[in-house]
Amino acid sequence: MSVVYRRYIPLVVAFVTGAIMILEYYISENYKVVIDAADVLKTWRIILSTVVFIGVINLFRVHGRHISRRRPGQWYYSAWLLFLIIFYAICGLVMGVQSDTYVRWFVNAVTVPLGATMYASLCFYMAAGAYRVLRARSLETFLLLGAAFLVIMGNTPLFPYLWPGFATIRNWIFDVIVTGGMRAIRIGVGLGATATGLKTVLGLETGYLGRRR
């Protein structure tokens, strides 16, 4: 039973759902049965999203352990996290999550600015990463440095104003060199994703389930 439950049922589910979703993309709109079946699966997708509870349970287990063991430097953050989860859940249940409620205001006033701050800090990470990579140690890195220099010049308002050629060079690098390379990678990705998808649907690819033989 264990093998059936842990291996064959997931593979059958992967095959049936995968086959329906593939058919739905190709088959004519006249075949309502397939279209409706795909719609049902998409609706299930929303219901399946409620398994976020699994994540919440895990959070309670991890951070509950920190609190119960009074882990130094950690337990009070864990307690604060669990308090906020419960607080937000109660607020959401009582007030709803519409845009005019306090719970939405809390999200907009706390979560959104924090996320924006993290996103803004990305520029420093990128600058540090650029410093790490843009060092002329070989011919390849010298070419990369040169291309990066020209693109930066072309992206600024001042340098294209002084000499429009900077903008032209920048556009040429993007439209010809970058686009060509990215298309090549994109074709490969498409083929790789198709192969992985087919192998998953056909039950050949079982790495994601572990290797149960």
């Binding site: 842990r6 593939i22 993309y25 190709y26 088959i27 004519s28 709109e29 006249n30 075949y31 997708r45 399946l48 999203s49 398994v51 976020v52 509870f53 699994i54 994540g55 919440v56 895990n58 959070l59 287990r61 991890v62 352990r65 979560t111 924090l114 996320g115 993290m118 996103y119 800090s121 990305l122 990470y125 990128m126 990463g129 650029a130 790490r132 990579v133 990215m182 990678i185 994109r186 074709i187 490969g188 990705v189 083929l191 790789g192 994703a193 198709t194 192969a195 992985t196 998808g197 087919l198 192998k199 998953t200 050949l204 690819e205 790495g207 994601y208 389930l209 572990g210 290797r211 149960r212």
Partner: protein, 261 residues
Amino acid sequence: MAVIRSGRMVPFVALILFALIMYVYLELGKRGRVPYVRRLAAFDAIEEAVGRAAEMGTPVVMIPGRAGWTSSYVAQTVAGLAVLNYVARLCARYDVRLWAPMSSALVMPIAVENVRDAYAAEGKLDAFDPVTMIPFVSGSQFAWASGVIGYYAREKPAANIMVGAFWAESMMLAESAARVGALQIGGTARLYQIPFFAAVCDYVLMGEEIFAASAYLTKENILLATLVTQDMFRLAGWILIIIGAILSTAGIKAIYNFLGM
């Protein structure tokens, strides 16, 4: 009454052909006719990374991306979980702590079973602790990234392996792990994140290379044989591109019209 939607006949036939060719090579693979697969340094380096962690007594971080099961990035999640299984087996074998932070609650139960299988295969099921090994950090992008960056700073992992779909957080993770001296292996099929991994990681898997994970790491003949199908279609793609470019330059749109059927 048309069975196939207008404009999707050629892609449908191509998909059928893809499946048929894959089947042929799969049968050949069963008989031991396995194609040559070039070395992928990033996959080869995984054992070195886990060994480094064993020597240093610090954990290995393995992130199978941030995508779930219900988007077009699912193939990358599948690839990431295949690598997670391999890393978990090595961690179990060498008694190294594994930390695989989850961002998708849909992927998490599968990841837990995946790692449990790896530990069971190595006979180390007693060392498997899903609560601390595979924690759900957050479903929110930057909250999750903050949690992972915090872990890097506190635990100073010896190795950071990231294979799957990543978004803007990729640079944050790679740079933060680089600062604590982690050996980094990064791989994604998301085009805009590849340069970030290329800039910071020690080993990089570009685009489709991550989809070879399962075949390359398990060395199973059947899976290795299926890689040929991709190469055959890539060759067909190149031929179509070259002929199409020549014909289009001459004002003939035969290839263009054919693909739009």
